[in-house]
C-alpha cells in the first residue's frame, strides 16, 4: 500500500499532506503539521486529549483516519485565534486555575468551544455533559466547569463568539 496525498483545511490554511495508509488525523496534525496542542493520550477514545473540530464538530483525532477527513475543515487549539493571542475561553481557563499539568487542557478547550458554539448559554449540567468525554486527573474538574461558566457569561456580555 502506498502513502496518499490528502487535501484538507487546517486552521484556515489549505494543506496537502502525504499520509501513510491508516495514518490518523492525529498523526497528520502532530507529526506532519507540528500542531502539538493535539495531545496523544490513550489512543482508545477514552481521554479526549486529542479532541479537534472537524467541520465544526468535536472529534477524536486519534480514532479518525486521515484519509476520511479529505476536504474537511479541521480546527485545533492553535486555530482559535489567527494572531495566536488567547481568546476569552482560554482567558477563563487561566483565571479559574483550570489547568494544572496542562495535558488535558487543549482537548478541554476544544470540547468547551464545541459546546459553546452549539449552546452559548449552557447550564452547569450541560457543561458537565459537554466535557464528559475529556478526562482531567489534576483539577477535579470543578475549576474547568467554572471556567466554561465564566466564558459563557463573558460571551453573553460581549455578544462575541467563543473564539
Amino acid at each position: 500500500m502506498e502513502a496518499k496525498l490528502i487535501r484538507l483545511t487546517v486552521n484556515g490554511r489549505d494543506e496537502t499532506v502525504v499520509a501513510d495508509p491508516l495514518a490518523t488525523l492525529q498523526d497528520v496534525l502532530r507529526d506532519t503539521l507540528q500542531l502539538t496542542a493535539v495531545k496523544s493520550g490513550c489512543g482508545q477514545g477514552g481521554c479526549g486529549s486529542c479532541s479537534v473540530l472537524v467541520d465544526g464538530e468535536l472529534r477524536l483525532s486519534c480514532l479518525t483516519l486521515a484519509e476520511r477527513v479529505e476536504g474537511t475543515e479541521v480546527t485545533t487549539l492553535e486555530g482559535l485565534n489567527e494572531t495566536n493571542a488567547i481568546v476569552p475561553l482560554q482567558q477563563a481557563f487561566v483565571e479559574n486555575y483550570a489547568a494544572q499539568c496542562g495535558y488535558c487542557t487543549a482537548g478541554m478547550v476544544m470540547a468547551a468551544k464545541a459546546l459553546l458554539d452549539r449552546n452559548p448559554a449552557p447550564s452547569r449540567d450541560e457543561i458537565v455533559e459537554g466535557l464528559s468525554g475529556n478526562l482531567c486527573r489534576c483539577t477535579g474538574f470543578a475549576p474547568i466547569v467554572r471556567a466554561v461558566q465564566q466564558a459563557a457569561q463573558a460571551l453573553s456580555d460581549t455578544g462575541e463568539e467563543a473564539s
Binding site: L22, Q44, L65, R68, V128, L131, S132, G133
Partner: protein, 272 residues
C-alpha cells in the same frame, strides 16, 4: 497492515464483504474498530463513508436510519426520548459524533447500549448481500449471535424504527453518568388496555449476557397485570434469573445480575 477499502456503492461494499470473508471488518465510526486495529494485522477494512448511509429519512409512521448515522445524528433526527437517552450515555460528545448506530449494534459487552432501546422499540434491521436485501427483527439478529459475536449475514445498511405505540423507558447502570461502559442497560416498552392492564411488553437488556436480548420471562411477568409493585418485582426477579453476566473490570457477574433485576424494575416503574 490492514488495507483500507472505500467502496462507492452498497452493492460494491456487500460484494467486498462477501468475497473477503473473515478477513474483512466493517469500518463505520471507528471508535470501536480502530482501537483494536494494530499495524501488524492483516485483512481489509471496508469503510462505509461513501455509501450515503449517514442519513435519516422520515417516513410514514417512523424513520429509516442509515447504518452509518452517528449517535448524535440519531438523537437529532429521531425524537424518541428513550432512544435519545441511550445515545447520551455512550462515550462523550466526540464519541457520539463519530460512533454509528450500526456499529454500536455490533459492539460486544460491556458496550452496545443502543441495542436494548432498539429491541424495546421493535426495530428492524436491513442487510444487503449479493442476494439482495433482507429485513429481520432486531431480536432475530441477536438470536443468531455466538461466542464469536455477530453472524456474518451481510452488510447492515439501515435500521427501521417505527413510532412507538406505547410508553418506552431506558436506563443505564454505570459506574458514572457519562462515558462509562455499562454494568447493565435496560429498556422497556409497554402497551396498556383500557383497564390499565399491560397488553404487550418488550423488556430488553444489554451488558447482562453474551449479547443484548429480549427477556421473555420478565415480559410475561407483567403482561396481563397492572404495573404494580408485585408485577414489577416479579419481572425483576425473572430478569435476574434469565441473565448470564460476565465479570470484567466494570463489574462482577454477581453485581450485574442484581442490577439487571433492579434496573428492569426501575425501567418498568418509569412507565407505571
Amino acid at each position: 497492515m490492514p488495507e483500507l477499502l472505500r467502496p462507492a456503492s452498497v452493492d460494491e461494499a456487500a460484494g467486498l464483504f462477501a468475497s473477503h470473508g473473515a478477513a474483512a471488518a466493517i469500518l463505520a465510526g471507528g471508535t470501536g474498530l480502530l482501537r483494536e486495529t494494530h499495524p501488524s494485522d492483516d485483512g481489509v477494512l471496508i469503510a462505509l463513508d461513501r455509501l450515503g448511509l449517514d442519513r435519516v429519512e422520515s417516513r410514514d409512521g417512523g424513520w429509516s436510519v442509515g447504518a452509518a448515522v452517528s449517535l448524535s445524528g440519531l438523537r437529532a433526527a429521531v425524537p424518541i426520548p428513550a432512544l435519545q437517552a441511550a445515545t447520551r450515555e455512550i462515550g462523550g460528545p466526540a464519541v457520539q459524533n463519530m460512533a454509528t448506530v450500526g456499529g454500536n449494534l455490533f459492539a460486544r459487552a460491556p458496550f452496545g447500549d443502543l441495542a436494548p432501546a432498539l429491541l424495546a422499540l421493535g426495530a428492524r434491521l436491513v442487510f444487503a448481500s449479493a442476494d439482495g436485501e433482507e429485513e429481520q427483527p432486531i431480536e432475530a439478529f441477536y438470536a443468531g449471535w455466538s461466542e464469536d459475536g455477530a453472524p456474518r449475514a451481510g452488510l447492515l445498511t439501515r435500521i427501521e424504527i417505527d413510532e412507538p405505540a406505547g410508553a418506552v423507558s431506558y436506563l443505564k447502570c454505570a459506574r458514572r453518568r457519562y462515558a462509562s461502559p455499562s454494568v447493565v442497560s435496560v429498556a422497556a416498552s409497554v402497551e396498556k388496555d383500557g383497564s390499565g392492564a399491560v397488553s404487550d411488553a418488550r423488556i430488553a437488556l444489554s451488558g447482562a449476557s453474551a449479547h443484548p436480548f429480549r427477556c421473555a420471562a420478565a415480559e410475561q411477568a407483567v403482561i396481563g397485570a397492572g404495573l404494580d409493585d408485585a408485577a414489577m418485582a416479579a419481572a425483576g426477579a425473572a430478569a435476574e434469573a434469565a441473565v448470564t453476566p460476565a465479570t470484567d473490570p466494570v463489574a462482577s457477574d454477581w453485581y450485574r445480575r442484581r442490577m439487571a433485576g433492579v434496573f428492569v424494575r426501575r425501567a418498568l416503574a418509569a412507565l407505571a
